[in-house]
Subunit: 323 residues, 2 copies
Amino acid sequence: MTIDELAKGVQEGKRRHLAKAITLVESNREADQQTAQELISKVRSSKETIRVGISGVPGVGKSTFIEALGNLLIEEGLKVAVLAVDPSSPATGGSILGDKTRMETLSSKDEAFIRPSPTSGTLGGVAKRTRESMMLCEAAGYDVILVETVGVGQSEFEVASMVDCFLVLMLPGAGDSLQGIKRGIMEIIDILVINKADGDQEKMAKNAVTEYQNAFHLLTPKYDGIGVEFLTVSSIKKKRIDEAWEKIQGFISALKEKGIFEAQRKEQELNWFKRLVEDEVLRRLWGSETNKEKAAELVEQIKKGEITPVKAAYDFLSSEISR
Amino acid sequence: MTIDELAKGVQEGKRRHLAKAITLVESNREADQQTAQELISKVRSSKETIRVGISGVPGVGKSTFIEALGNLLIEEGLKVAVLAVDPSSPATGGSILGDKTRMETLSSKDEAFIRPSPTSGTLGGVAKRTRESMMLCEAAGYDVILVETVGVGQSEFEVASMVDCFLVLMLPGAGDSLQGIKRGIMEIIDILVINKADGDQEKMAKNAVTEYQNAFHLLTPKYDGIGVEFLTVSSIKKKRIDEAWEKIQGFISALKEKGIFEAQRKEQELNWFKRLVEDEVLRRLWGSETNKEKAAELVEQIKKGEITPVKAAYDFLSSEISR
């Protein structure tokens, strides 16, 4: 299949072509990367899309929530793509979405495209690929892209930096039984959803919302005039999933009204370019044997208190370091 | 004066020599920087010191608190140095500590050394210099180093990365009248002090503590088993300043018991070395005219949607970029 055929297929929303295109993007082969880049430059999304990041600890019910939300969106006539960022998958020996049976009803629908997390590469790599897969899904006509992460390492921050809206699922509970919020995460949450709010857990979930609201109301808002949204749902009973979708839409509209939406997407792309360059430059800097040895020496001297970090930095930079 | 004489004077705790040494550290002249580095490598602190970062919005009463705390420490037979990180000072036309009359009683004491913020250089520069001034003060026999910051830009994070204990001052208030906590700051606070808890504000201050405790108890602790400490003080009435000092000492002891104290100082130094190198490498990367032009072109193409950030990064890195 030629690139043009592949591009045409993607643009026409053909699943087989989209899958093949993403495989190219995910490939580590240099040649495939070239093709992937050429391909991406050939396809464009024709309509407005919504990118939602969904995070939460294992067991919080991400898959059930995504399945319930995805089915609701399809009922509303939208096409949904589900991508995953899971740096842990190589370790855990399988991506979070690898086991599709966890999203049986959704994965069986034509309007849904579910892609397991690429199990290769660094987090940066996985995230990079997810960003491009997202673009391909949009070109293939998917209206809503749901990016799931288990929140290992920096993955939430990676995902938050590539979506329009970042949603975090939490378990019900009150007081000290509330699970702590991972450091730094509070700042990137747009919508906090307490899942499993059914049966005798419903009241607990409501209390949890109050507690989280108390915790958040002291925080300077992420966007001026747009506060964090809170709600309780039951993904398994499909309760208030529609409210969750309304909250997401309301949040997106607010961003658009304030002219933040487009600006943020552009900013995300420029930051992404800058970060890719800087990451690679620093990877080369600390990766070179010469530099490693030089740095190791200096670190030893710093540890022994023989030189200050500043002196060490001067020495390192003035020495013949390979870049 | 030769470097050796200067070093000797600093080591003997001579104020004049210490001041001169810090002036060298703060100088932008390459030659002075060389001398400063040589000097720093010649002096060592002989005793255990405590480094405390103190932050809070203008008007919260940082100077009054520092004066009250400083005088208390001197009464306990300790020597106190007060340094400031204030990136805003060039703008505001004067450093936060420039007006010494704000710490009249403290600055008149032999056991206190107060150094205004260097009004030159970037934040990174100011912070870098403050780290080295801190070392010089310790070599000069000061037991407690208080590093004040107005919390402009990244200064709190800079300061938090160079001290053992980060203390933030807040104003009394309750509910919505509570001032919001700057993004990311919650995570670096070790001790939260509500100042101006006197007269009819005392009750408000107590309520504030409860509210902040609610906000913080959900956060994963910065150090396993060491929680954030809260208290109310009145710096002007010198109420519970001793408690503040006890909290600081208690926190430091906890760090030492857990073996975090020394490890953290070493880690701070190694990170500092790494950051100085990376900052300079990236400064050179984006500073070169060739790279600027190349990057500007690519940014334009990204904005027009002609290429993806990944393609742009590939192009940038494969092009002849100067480093």
